[in-house]
Symmetry: C2
């Protein structure tokens, strides 16, 4: 399932049998969708994939990193829409916010993404893999958008891009995880706009 | 430990023995600090408190809500600094952001807060209690700050306060949970300022 046999947590090594590896990843993906990360067990994955638990544990030390690999294939194929290039910062951020909302609310990716983020709080290996393969690439995409805006003179060269990224991404993660408020296109547009123009009224528009 | 015998999850009823209840909450608080939420067990709490597991389960259906009660006492006594009233929105938000950072990085509250937020992803009763007793009160404090700014004509009356709150709080939660970037006073000040003035340059200051 993963491209070119690579997995997000490829550092743990590669099974000799590609067929087994694929069966394990596929079984994990199905069980994630059917049961969620908390209910999914390595035993259940082994049973569905037709392999031993030992085979799974040889390459994935914990179910969290296995779940990340199962999640990663779908996730990575959905990245293109997160990197719009419309020619304006507002255009880029609005499309990126909307695409983020679509990913976060998709039945296949949203609940697993939230569960992986939660699980990472108590699984350091998963936290590292998640940061390296999901969260840091997300930030790098956002950096590219802000750097282009600086190159176009839309933003000052001394703009604190890291703070700007947190300002833009934080609210989306907050709604994914903790509020029952709408995570929809209207919110995406509102966040993109308010992050750019600020909460205080602009002189020129009052 | 909790004020007037009240607990965050008071809805589950009140033990007949106030002494047992206090011993349980205190033991849970100690174990949370020593071991963290994931490692803490109801059995361990029972042992340290000198009660039976059954006594604990009678009032706390899962360890998550017990942990929330143990967390809540300290948390609620630290709320005052989250509600500054400096006379300006910038002053209020800067002090509130700094106070939030102090809470999130305190050894006693920070790790448990992050663990409770994570655990809430797979424990609906805990999620409801956390929202009702911690997250919603946090938002209500922020609403008061923004409403005062509207009353002072610092903000337009039609400001979307809910989006503004997410813009301001989202980055702080994001750094608590997922990035290894600094969660410090400089970040607090930067977020307060950028949320107010926006990422784009202001006409009047270019």
């Amino acid at each position: 399932m993963t491209k070119g046999g690579e997995t997000a947590t490829g550092a743990v090594g590669r099974p000799r049998s590609e067929r087994s590896r694929r069966a394990i990843i596929r079984a994990a993906g199905e069980l994630l969708e059917e049961q969620g990360l908390r209910a999914m067990t390595v035993e259940g994955v082994a049973q569905r994939a037709g392999v031993s638990k030992k085979t799974i544990y040889r390459w994935w030390p914990r179910k969290g990193v296995l779940a990340l690999d199962a999640f990663y294939d779908d996730w990575s194929s959905a990245q293109e829409e997160l990197m719009p290039d419309t020619g304006t910062l507002m255009g880029d951020l609005r499309l990126r916010a909307r695409a983020t909302v679509r990913l976060m609310t998709s039945e296949r990716l949203g609940p697993t993404f939230a569960a992986l983020l939660a699980e990472a709080q108590s699984d350091e290996a998963l936290a590292d893999a998640l940061r390296e393969h999901v969260l840091e690439p997300l930030r790098e995409q956002a950096r590219a958008i802000f750097r282009r805006a600086i190159a176009r003179d839309e933003l000052r060269p001394d703009t604190d891009v890291e703070v700007a990224i947190d300002l833009f991404q934080g609210p989306l993660f907050l709604r994914l995880l903790y509020t029952h408020a709408a995570l929809d296109e209207a919110f995406a547009d509102a966040i993109a706009e308010m992050a750019l123009t600020g909460v205080l009224p602009r002189e020129s528009t009052t």
